[in-house]
Symmetry: C2
Subunit: 527 residues, 2 copies
């Protein structure tokens, strides 16, 4: 089901001082040239999974004379984000016609066998990383002007002429990021899979750290507030690029819209502008993002600047309560995120996120000694916890339920645990009960899995959390991930919220948090 | 049948002095911006011919919001050669995905309904003027880097997103040519169709006058020697750009290959280089090109520089005679052009072209007073005329025949007339006989029709020549030509030597010569 929002009478209230602060913090991107590593042949195995059937040194490709309909595949050896240059020449007689070829870039091997013509998703087909290119004069150094996020490349010759053939003399990529992998020391977690998970997490985060914390360098490229929260957390334990986090907070706070709401995401081009999308949970998370930043930096000035925006989001959310003092259920509209996946009712989860963020609001207010706010927030927190139990707790099921169909989902239980609606002991019982019952409405995204791991750790189940991380992110690595994917359902590799996995992002910021957990909670134990 | 040549052990003998002279004569191209004129709708009529079904001011297009699969057509109002710029923006919410669209440029309306996927010709598919373009950030001024030759443009939106639509705010073309239409005064030939033929001829020539005399600005773009001969002739009676003609002669003469042969065509990029294609008739024509230039300019220095190259081509051709003193028949190989069209045997025509060019050689030799050359050339001319009659004349048919099947074609008769193998009176009888008999192997190209018109005029049939010009080139105009086509068969609009009319050139230099005939032979009469 397509999920997007279009707000009528959308009015942006820009705070130019905030936007100027953000602009001044714009990072100088680091460039690093890498070269294509191997020529590969790609096919399908008996289970119809895309596999590499042959591989050769890249020099093998550079000896070939390519003509009409010849197709070659290239492996860069690792995930890359950047600008590709092809060095092309010809064999045979003088080039007497334009050479015309098709290029496709893929993060995952499957993208090399996906047929674009079959795409029937509801996101733009424009996200598929393909190009049709004419080169009128060979030899030529063709620097592609668009940025791609990829590991694999297909080149199919549409045509040369009867008199000449295309020759490839070099393929390289000018990779870009705000940070450098080498700036973070590897840690030995005493387990090669955990070490690998930590590495892939950092790689994923690095690829998404560009002018801002991007959602995914292949698709979206803009900045989502909920994703920023997780990226920034991982960043504080790895690259420690505090300026980029600060810049992103000022961008969001500088682009409020109607009623002072924070947008769920912002565009940075052609100029800074918020999307006309409001997600209740994402807007509320600003208090959490701000506190995390303050705790990492002690930057009181930024906290003072942005405090009001954070607290305002709670005030705005409070206007969306129904007569039972819980968040009004807006059904299938795109009003609160929580997780992808069909059928998840968000009413209880949204209420839990509100309670969770009030806790962060209180902590912010205490730092600035805002007594009035503290009282108000504490009062509302108590009221909401009471209402949540009254409205959503199902004694018989032993779980929270949500919406008119009283749906018990994983997401609802996890957010109620993180909201600390119950005391720690009850929460621990609840998490074990959920694992036992395994409600039908499961978690789909690494984003939701993050909160699951967080909940386990908060319930003192650190070993279990580690096992679950290995089970979920570790399985993704076994499934071929060089960077962590936007979506991962171990039982359905083609799962997509967009109607087609072709436009899924396979390097997605919200999936990078194992490095945060490992480095925050497991370093002393494991070393 | 594919016709091309690949010469093994191809060795180029560059004459750097000649190439430097050519380089110094490189024209500064004139630029003129034009704007798209109309939005049109394109469909098929009952005879399945492509037609314009609706037309609107271009402003109509600029109000539209375009989304996935929307297709629009644009008419620039006249043929253009240049660089297109699209001014694009969006309607709806902020652009949240790349906009992806397809562009196609066509000289003829049919190109707007041709399906590229159906192309099965033997020339490169790369000649079809189409592009697939992603624009990541709107608004954008997209200046396409490749030069197109077109009047019509299709834009099909492959995708936007659910949240925004593509808007076109302007479409323009920076047209280029070495010459300016306004520099030639129109002449009133007392007949609106003739005036129109003169105009379209000049337009065709202008579009092909770029860095060199191009063959066709859509396809080929290089310079062919046989085509240059006709272009230069038309140029001397219109634009009078003598430097461009001189430049082209020096390029050809500066790029001889094995045995001092002139290539049938040369490439100018990435650097000057001859194609590995030798066509006997094209190489021989250099004497004609040189004499035409000298007569137009009195430039004796150039004549002295290039004389040897011209005479050498005759010497080389003389080595290709068989024991009967006529040119050896090389059958279906691509060895002599004369005309496109399946099945034309070229032995007799090639012999006639040799005789014709010896006449030009003698005139060149006389200007420079080269007595030895004059004697040798006159002797060979006499020998060849005798051999041609003996070998090719069929008394019973009253026509010349060619090849093992004794084929009597239009092309053979016309070249024998132009070669003046017989006296004028006999030639006149022959041309009438041919018209009466109408041999099955007819003329296909305007290039061959040029020689037919030339033959009629040489036989004092000026009125008939005028009627034939009106019938052939006039019919092309009635068939929608804004510039004259490479190929024109009034009985088959889709005729193509390349297996598909999609890659035919519809602005082709060799078709521009009616303006030469009109202005050389008909101006005093008609004024």
């Amino acid at each position: 089901m397509p999920s997007y929002s279009i707000i009528e009478n959308f009015e942006v209230h820009k705070n130019n001082r905030f936007l100027e602060i953000a602009e001044a913090l714009k990072p100088e991107l680091l460039h690093k040239e890498i070269k294509a590593e191997k020529e590969i042949m790609v096919g399908k195995d008996r289970q119809m999974r895309t596999v590499i059937t042959e591989e050769h040194p890249i020099e093998n490709l550079y000896t070939k004379s390519l003509k009409r309909d010849d197709t070659v595949f290239v492996d860069f050896g690792d995930h890359a984000v950047g600008y590709v240059t092809l060095e092309l020449s010809k064999t045979g007689s003088h080039q007497d016609a334009p050479v015309y070829f098709y290029l496709k870039f893929g993060e995952r091997l499957e993208e090399m066998t996906d047929k674009t013509a079959d795409y029937d998703g509801w996101l733009s087909r424009g996200w598929i990383q393909e190009e049709y290119i004419h080169v009128d004069v060979l030899p030529a150094k063709v620097k592609l002007p668009r940025r791609y996020s990829f590991r694999y490349m297909e080149l199919r010759v549409i045509d040369t002429s009867a008199k000449f053939q295309l020759k490839i003399d070099g393929i390289s990529c000018d990779t870009v990021s705000a940070v450098d992998m080498e700036s973070v020391k590897p840690v030995d977690f005493g387990d090669s899979l955990l070490n690998q998970i930590d590495l892939v997490s950092r790689k994923t985060l690095k690829e998404c750290m560009q002018d801002v914390f991007e959602d995914g360098p292949k698709r979206d490229r803009r900045m989502w507030l909920g994703d920023l929260r997780l990226q920034a957390r991982a960043n504080y334990y790895t690259f420690k690029n505090y300026d980029l986090a600060k810049r992103c907070m000022y961008i969001f706070a500088g682009l409020l819209f109607n009623e002072g709401k924070l947008s769920a995401c912002v565009f940075t081009e052609p100029e800074m502008e918020p999307d006309d999308t409001y997600l209740l949970d994402y807007a509320l998370f600003f208090s959490s993002v701000l506190l995390d930043y303050y705790e990492a930096t002690d930057d009181l000035e930024t906290l003072r600047d942005l405090y009001d925006v954070a607290i305002d989001q709670i005030r705005i959310a409070m206007t969306q309560l129904n007569e039972k003092n819980v968040v009004e259920d807006l059904g299938d509209a795109f009003w609160c995120f929580l997780d992808w996946g069909d059928g998840l009712n968000k009413q209880a989860g949204a209420t839990a996120v509100l309670i969770y963020c009030i806790r962060y609001g209180i902590r912010l207010a205490k730092i600035l000694d805002k007594q009035e706010d503290i009282s108000w927030l504490e009062e509302k927190q108590a009221m909401l916890k009471e209402a949540a139990v009254k409205e959503f707790w199902d004694e018989e099921l032993g779980m929270f339920v949500s919406g008119p169909d009283r749906q018990a989902s994983w997401a609802t239980q996890i957010w109620m645990i993180l909201a600390r609606v119950f005391d720690k002991e009850t929460n621990c019982k609840l998490i074990h009960h959920v694992m036992e019952v395994n409600p039908r409405i499961r978690m789909v995204t690494p984003y939701m899995y993050h909160h699951y791991i967080d909940a386990l750790i908060r319930c003192d189940e650190k070993e279990l959390a580690l096992e679950e991380m290995k089970r979920y992110w570790g399985e993704m690595i076994r499934d071929g991930a060089d960077t962590f994917w936007e979506l991962y359902n171990p039982y359905n590799r083609e799962e997509s919220p967009y109607g087609s996995s072709m436009v899924n992002s396979y390097c997605h910021a919200w999936s990078c948090t194992p490095t945060y957990f490992l480095r925050k909670f497991y370093m002393d134990n494991e070393k």
